[in-house]
């Protein structure tokens, strides 16, 4: 556009120059008139040109900003349904072939269990919902619907997002932050069943109704502390919350390919008529009911490897935990040799550990091995139980191999073979085939 200006000037000059030699006054008058008009046109033209140039510069300056605003406007998916919680549904089922029924000799299992029948069966269907409640809280719930249609609330909590300074406070029903495996739902397990120490001493998970305060230290290394107060689900019905837990976890990266986390947790919980079972001296199942104090120490360690930190093609995960439980209280038993009912003191110091490794050797395929071992430790039954209940001379253990195929990150098919020696007098070779499908915007899993 600016090129027009010199062009117009040249044109004017060309029109004017042929006439200067002529002295005719009329022509001279005409020429003056013409020059005046031309000058007016030229001036008018230049003013308008300047105007246009100015306008253009202004427009150009605004263009990028306007574009950015327009882009932002077209992008926003402003539908009311966008406020709906993220809902996801997890479908699980299995074929399970086993001789035993999952009894673990020498331990009073505690609380919550997911179970799982023989043959073809539907595992728990998990329904989860989560969303921000407002700028200060986030809410989450996980319901497990078992094969019979019974709904169990596994989690239902609200957590702060605005406390700042590294603090988060969670209240409601939640999976306790003790150990490593405790916070994982069955669909996120690397094997078809929970490890033996958890199954024998925590009933697969320790679920807490109460409050959890966590604090993440402002240090370059991950350092997190947690404190919980509440009531263990399936543990107690008393007015006073009888359970508290303290947790400490540290973790970091080593280079770009390795990362790890280690932790130590302490849980103290009061049992009030916690129901369970124990094989009596005649080998029959006696129903038990424990009231007293349970104290746990859990040490956990996880190490993950992925070449250059990219887990998509290959990765390896090692995980190990050690659990120790001291129980002290009163035990009531009935059925079997207990007959109509016997009650006396019960004290036990028991422990167990497991270690497992899962290797994704190529995209979609993983293979893993786990070893579980329990120590029945010292179990002291009160004198009333003499000849009825006694400590077995036995070490429960189990070897498990698994391979799974993952068509996408939302579906998984697993084959698991196990040699389970958890029940005295039985070597149970188990085969499990399992599927896990996850529908909807499934949230991220923790490390």
């Amino acid at each position: 556009m600016p090129r027009l200006k010199p062009l117009a000037a040249t044109l004017a000059a060309l029109l004017v120059t042929p006439f200067p030699a002529l002295a005719n006054p009329e022509l001279e008058k005409l020429r003056t008139e013409f020059e005046q008009k031309l000058k007016a046109v030229q001036e008018n033209y230049e003013t308008r040109l300047k105007e246009i140039e100015g306008r253009m510069a202004k427009t150009e300056g605004q263009a990028r900003a306007a574009q950015t605003t327009a882009d932002a406007a077209t992008r926003a998916p402003a539908t009311a349904s966008a406020f709906n919680p993220e809902i996801s549904l997890i479908l699980q089922g299995r074929y399970h072939n086993a001789k035993g029924d999952g009894h673990i000799t020498g331990f009073l299992p505690a609380g919550h269990e997911h179970g799982g029948g023989k043959g073809l069966s539907l595992d728990g269907t998990e329904l989860t919902m989560g969303a921000s409640i407002d700028p200060y809280f986030r809410g989450f719930a996980n319901f497990v619907i078992d094969a019979e249609g019974k709904i169990e609330t596994e989690e239902a909590w609200a957590q702060t997002t605005a406390l700042d300074h590294g603090f988060t406070l969670k209240g409601g029903r939640y999976l306790s932050g003790i150990g490593y495996a405790n916070e994982r739902h069955p669909h996120a397990w690397d094997f078809a069943n929970q490890n033996l120490p958890y199954a024998a001493m925590l009933g697969e998970h320790y679920i807490q109704d109460g409050l959890q305060l966590r604090w993440l230290a402002p240090t370059p290394m991950f350092l997190q502390f947690g404190a919980e107060i509440g009531q263990g689900v399936d543990w107690s019905n008393k007015n006073r919350p009888g359970s508290y837990a303290l947790t400490a976890h540290v973790g970091d990266d080593v280079g770009t390919s390795h990362s790890w986390r280690a932790g130590l947790s302490y849980l103290r919980t009061k049992a009030d008529h916690r129901e369970s079972h124990w094989d009596d001296d005649a080998g029959d199942e006696a129903h038990t009911d424990f009231t007293g104090l349970s104290k746990y120490w859990i040490a956990d360690f996880v190490w993950k490897w992925a070449p250059q930190g990219n887990p998509k093609y290959q990765n390896f995960k090692f995980q190990a935990e050690y659990l120790r439980r001291n129980e002290n209280g009163d035990l009531h038993c009935d059925d079997g040799l207990c007959g109509g009912g016997i009650e006396d003191s019960y004290a036990a110091k028991q422990s167990g550990w497991y270690a497992q490794g899962v290797y994704q050797f190529m995209p979609r395929w993983r293979a893993g091995y786990r070893y579980d071992r329990l120590d029945v430790g010292t179990v002291n039954f009160g004198p009333a139980f003499t000849g009825v209940l006694s400590k077995p001379d036995f070490t429960p253990q189990r070897h498990t191999l698994m391979a799974d195929y993952n068509p996408s990150e939302f579906s998984r098919f697993r084959l698991q073979l196990a040699r389970d020696k958890g029940q005295q007098g039985l070597t149970d070779n188990q085969v499990t085939l399992q599927y896990i499908h996850s529908l909807g915007p499934h949230g991220a899993h923790k490390f």
Binding site: R75, A217, L223, Q224, T256, R268, N310, Y313, H445
Partner: protein, 305 residues
Amino acid sequence: MKRPFTLHIGAILLSLTALGTTPAHAALNVLACTPEWASLTQELAGDKAKVNSATTAMQDPHRIEARPALLAQARRADLLVCTGAELEIGWLPLLQRESGNAKIQAGQPGYFEAAAFVRLIEKPAVLDRALGDIHAAGNPHFVLDPRNLLKVADALTKRLADIDPANAAHYAARHQDFSTRMSAAIARWEKEAAPLRGVPVVVHHKNWSYLAEWLGLKTVADLEPKPGVDPSAAYLGQLLNKLKTQPAKMVLRAAYQSPKASEWISERAGMKAVLLPYTVGGTDKARDLFSLFDDTLARLKAGAQ
């Protein structure tokens, strides 16, 4: 046993709280989700910010875990600079929630989402997982159209000034300098890339769409049958047949993507397998946002010959 343990924890907590109170004049602590945003923030903030990237160019940004080390970084961040458009959905929300850091939550000035300031392409008309790993908001790999970098830089400069008003003039000056250099570089790249216009290419994933749009490359096929779904041998076979009638010059993959599929098909279809940095750090030469495009163009031109 109980009392000493609790006391011990209390003592640690106290000492760490003391340690955590940082001096008021420290540089801004910025955590970028991906290397390109770390580079851009560094360009705009200079020595007024300490910038870390949560991922490297060797890591698939879709598949990152909220590792303990990342949580520790998120805890101390004043500003989180991420792509958005669900690229980081598999790990970022967890990082924000577990960090206990109110500054970097969604909706706060300390959370910057670059996708909000650019026009996204390939928005799916239908949202169905049967279509693969699609992003509802559109294709999030917009960094490879450098014109988007200018837009994001405009917005990020404003955000830096909001968070750290004392240094607003510093950010504005650096922004002016960056924009001038980037605009000049874009003009140069567009001229250099003129011969690439219309060149047919095969892509590994839809992470090259913006680059192709900018340079006028013609994408004839994707190695992934659906976004995020790895190609099967059968699918690659079909693709090979298609490429016989509709040949391409090269097959493009990012540094974080496996070379297997592109090497297999390039050998059989008589085209070049070209590795592109995708982001800063993807190749030795791609050290910043400028050399990222210099190297990308050099590799594309070599591939097109």
